[in-house]
Symmetry: C2
Subunit: 259 residues, 2 copies
């Protein structure tokens, strides 16, 4: 089982779109996937067709108690489609940020890691969506993961923050005592503008083999899929969105063989 | 003096781009503007051509002490261009979230409001940029402001969260005891797609006169301006970006006469 966190403090860079559609493409290829939604906005939950208000228990119940006291991760899971389950989130999750934030206990950033370890059902992939900040929820995701995908929009603000983000992750690795395999994924790429092409060249020159070969192009079908609560693999397998996220899925799968 | 907060928990919807370019257009028309950057990412600071690492004191020093103990807002201000000053931010500001978050003092969300009241220099507008979450920093901005602009990207995830956001602001108004004039600004609009046109129609039908007449179109010149650290008013007054943000500035100015 591989656990991958998708995070970036920069808002709107395609974290949720990457989680939902990478999950969709891996499941389409027959791999069993669990999406864990650690964002109180619950957009990954919504993007997989589940209304957060309809869910009786969500990830908050699993994480707000000491391990073993609340429900297990598998007890709150909802099926989204074939081979694809979701541990849903909700607005209440932002209360966890305050609750765990003020506790001094060292275990406050390990709650999700322990919950993922205790999962009885064998998944091939656990994909964790993060909110656009670096707080207790994102630290829980990074502790539970062995790999990190940082979606990086080809824009000045997004590119400016990456160096500092990589520093934050490296500091965390020292404290965690475990390696995190970090890679950058260019997203929302609009190949028609020189601006975006120049930005992509700069990203590849600066971060070299930290960057995926795959580039996610701007594609309106990805927005339509989100609105219908389905992955791009279900909505339209002739769209750029599907081609790009399938290419990412294959790169992630191929990467395993290199390990 | 009018104080306007630009906020939305949804990431990447154009908060910083709106702050920088609305400020640029108001200053271009001769109004004296102060931009207050309440986002630890410091993108509004960067977008106005100031490197956060070069600044000796930023908004953190003003807010981390009780009012009157640290420097005043006017003491940390940096000039960006004619009629346009910035109270810069930096990474350290995220420490304020923890520091004020754990204090029980009732004044912890009033620090910015008090600092703005004490400003000696007469500004016509104070524009406050917010991070993509609803925490202590955003509450400080809402307490200091009388008006709120919510940038709303024409997309499913962005539109889903707005109703809850308006609820959060209404609850805050009760606790604050002061009215907040809230308006929605459609941003990143790509008129070429039916998807965006349908979304815009839905926004206008649902939120009626809460929505500005102005729609900010997707325009690569706005990204180029951000990269050069200048406002669109300085970079290109023939671009859609300038036309749209100037239209917003005039709508904001005209609105004053209606008050
Ligand atoms: N490749 C793409 N093509 C077109 N639209 C996209 C693409 N990727 C994402 N989007 C759209 O851009 C917006 C931002 O994407 P998304 O919500 O996935 O980002 P995020 O990083 O998860 O945001 P947040 O910081 O709020 O969590 C959404 O409206 C989404 O539908
Ligand atoms: N009208 C527009 N046309 C083209 N690009 C835009 C437009 N508005 C914003 N952008 C770009 O989209 C990205 C997101 O915008 P911006 O950073 O202003 O959003 P934000 O809400 O401040 O993000 P965050 O949630 O991280 O604070 C930036 O790269 C910006 O340059
Ligand atoms: Mg998201
Ligand atoms: Mg911003």
């Amino acid at each position: 089982m591989r656990t991958i966190a998708v995070m970036n403090q920069k808002g709107g860079c395609g974290k949720t779109t990457t989680i939902v559609n990478l999950a969709g493409c891996l499941a389409h290829e027959g791999h069993r996937v669990l999406v864990v939604d650690m964002d109180p906005q619950a957009h990954a939950t919504l993007g997989l067709g589940i209304d957060p208000e309809d869910v009786s228990e969500n990830i908050y119940e699993v994480l707000c108690e000491e391990p073993g006291e609340g429900p297990g991760l598998d007890e709150i899971v909802v099926n989204a489609s074939e081979h694809l389950n979701v541990a849903p989130s909700g607005v209440i999750l932002s209360a966890l940020e305050q609750k765990l934030g003020s506790e001094s206990s060292s275990g406050r950033t390990e709650r999700l890691a322990v919950a993922v370890e205790r999962l009885p059902k064998p998944y091939d992939f656990v994909l964790i969506d993060c909110p656009p900040n670096v707080g207790v929820l994102t630290f829980n995701a990074l502790r539970a993961a062995q790999e990190v995908i940082i979606p990086l929009e080809t824009s000045y603000y997004a590119m400016h923050g990456v160096a500092k983000l990589l520093e934050t992750i490296a500091l965390l690795e020292d404290r965690l005592g475990h390696e995190l395999r970090v890679r950058l994924l260019p997203t929302l790429f609009d190949g028609r503008t020189r601006f975006a092409k120049r930005a992509l060249t700069e990203i590849r020159e600066t971060y070299k083999d930290l960057v995926f070969d795959t580039v996610i192009r701007h594609n309106v079908r990805l927005r339509e899929a989100a609105q219908r609560g389905v992955t791009i693999a279900k909505l339209d397998r002739r769209s750029y969105g599907f081609v790009d996220y399938m290419s990412l899925a294959l790169e992630v799968l191929f990467d395993e063989e290199q390990r």
